[in-house]
């Protein structure tokens, strides 16, 4: 039976998380532990309960998961010390989660998964910490390419856009624009040259990389080939796991879209287990 227990760890014991462990009889030997944290201001449950469902699905496949709140978010207390740099704290605390799992559970290999702003600490810790053997980036860094600009300028020829415009006109006026502002995501991205270097080093280190993009990134990502185009010097085709879900919104709010994402992430995470470990 899958077990869930509460963990308190990290600087000033401020971090709270839930460890989801598979039935001892079903543990996948050699599987790294998957670590998840906040998506924006959503607490460790994840948007639309995404992280809970992922953790329980992974447990069903023999993989352990820790989902936790960064300090000051969700159910974790703010830290008294730690400075005002939110990004620095997120990196420290993600590493604190790995330290905790290593000390308490004897785990030495980890997989990190981040969505939207969560990608920042996942990227930084994956680059810096050799214990990370897999990293998934959902709606992570994007760069506009020639293909993007061509499609962007042709968008008014899309019948779907006109249909959407007409649907919107039918809504009551008070709902038409309400909440639009919170759907604009602006973050500072690393320089593309730096990111290319980082991915090159990660691939050389043997880190399994997974990139997922939703249709909710339309202002910066608008076609399937854009990912490989924007990182073309690396020739990533076939070297990483990649999926583009144009129908899904940024937080995969439709259950069917979420189901697709969960299947993809579960299969990828289980696939990070070295073949030797699988054959026992």
């Amino acid at each position: 039976m899958t077990r869930e227990r509460i963990c308190t760890f990290g600087p000033e014991q401020s971090l709270v998380g839930i460890l989801t462990e598979p039935d001892p009889a079903k543990v996948l030997p050699g599987a790294p532990v998957v670590v998840l944290s906040n998506v924006g201001l959503n607490h460790h449950v994840g948007p639309y309960r995404l992280w809970v469902e992922l953790a329980r699905q992974l447990a069903g496949r023999g993989v352990t998961t820790l989902r936790f709140d960064l300090s000051g978010l969700g159910d974790s207390r703010p830290r008294r010390e730690g400075g005002s740099d939110e990004f620095q704290r997120a990196r420290e605390e993600t590493r604190a989660a790995l330290d905790y799992l290593e000390q308490k559970k004897g785990q030495k290999q980890f997989v990190l998964i981040g969505l939207c702003s969560g990608v920042d600490s996942v990227h930084a810790v994956t680059v810096a910490d050799p214990r990370v053997v897999g990293a998934a980036f959902i709606d992570g860094y994007t760069y506009r390419t020639l293909g993007y600009h061509l499609r962007f300028h042709l968008r008014y020829l899309s019948p779907r856009r006109w249909t959407r415009y007409l649907r919107k006109r039918k809504l009551p006026a008070r709902l038409r624009e309400a909440g639009e502002a919170d759907e604009v995501y602006t973050r500072e991205y690393p320089e593309r040259s730096q990111l290319t270097q980082d991915y090159k080093h990660l691939l050389e280190r043997g880190v399994s990389l997974c990139f997922v993009f939703s249709g909710g990134m339309g202002l910066s990502f608008n076609h399937e080939g854009q990912f490989f185009e924007m990182l073309s010097p690396l020739k990533l085709e076939g070297r990483v796991t990649y999926a583009f879900y144009p129908r899904a919104d940024h937080l995969f709010s439709v259950p069917e879209d979420r189901g697709e994402l969960l299947r993809k992430l579960t299969a990828w995470a289980v696939g990070t287990v070295p073949p030797r470990a699988l054959t026992g």
Partner: protein, 258 residues
């Protein structure tokens, strides 16, 4: 904050106890979350409210209903009767852990309707705080359906239009027929009896359904107070749900009542 799992091992629920700071009051507070998308939007506000109440000497407990948050169960297993029972378990847990003699319930939206049901079904309650309550299930569903329609205008690939009972999904969460039926059966203003306790209605904007509820409550002869707390920010559902002024009002009224 002390997180815990409580309930049986097959049906464990996740809760967070915020211990009272300073002089402890003999009344504890159980916070009853709303459901589905409203739970996601307001989790932070509940944490903040719990902290404000704890600083005033209340032991506070907030928890996830079965099939929600970190509690066991699947989203599609959610039922009103189960969640009402969960409130009773949460109140017992708070009393067991802290020794508080009485428990006040604070519920937001569907959580308010569940709190009323829990009190009506025998949970001894020091006070009921109904925060932007779901008064009539049908109106609540219609309101959320409008937001669902808004979501459809934000994608180039909307799902085919279909009624809730067919698509069984509401704003990103599975919403099975049985739960829809449960919700449709809710009408606080038409309840034949009302829990024998002090009730506070706390709202950001006046609405006809709150007026109906107010008339019903005034008719009971039981102690009742209506608090209209104008919302901050640009308006709309999100800012109402996150209004700091409402949190302050709830803290003050519980402090005065205790």
């Amino acid at each position: 904050m002390t997180p815990c799992f409580f309930g049986s091992s097959e049906r464990q629920l996740f809760g967070i106890h915020h211990p009272a700071q300073g002089a402890e009051r003999s009344t504890g507070v159980v916070l009853c979350y709303p459901a589905a998308q409203e739970y996601m939007l307001t989790h932070w506000a509940f944490r903040k409210l719990a902290g404000m109440l704890a600083r005033e000497g209340f032991h506070v407990f907030r928890f996830d209903y079965y099939g929600t948050g970190d509690s066991s169960g699947e989203v599609h297993e959610g039922r009103v009767a189960t969640w009402v029972q969960d409130i009773r378990h949460a109140a017992n847990e708070l009393q067991d852990v802290t020794g508080v003699q009485r428990v006040a319930l604070v519920g937001l939206r569907l959580g308010a309707a569940l709190a009323v049901r829990a009190a009506l079904e025998g949970l001894s309650t020091a006070a009921l705080v109904l925060w932007e309550p779901l008064v009539q299930g049908e109106a609540w569903l219609q309101e959320l359906e409008l937001l669902q329609a808004r979501r459809a205008t934000r994608t180039l690939f909307p799902q085919p239009e279909s009624p809730l009972e067919v698509r069984e999904e509401l704003l990103g969460f599975e919403f099975p027929r049985a739960l829809r039926e449960d919700i449709l059966a809710l009408d606080l203003a038409a309840l034949p009896a009302w829990p024998a306790t002090r009730t506070h209605l706390v709202v950001g904007t006046p609405r006809p359904e709150y007026q109906r509820l107010q008339e019903r409550l005034e008719g009971t002869g039981l102690p009742f107070q209506h608090h209209l707390v104008p919302e901050e920010g640009a308006g709309g559902q999100e800012s109402t749900l996150l209004s700091n002024r409402i949190l302050q009002t709830i803290t003050t009224l519980l402090k005065e009542a205790a």
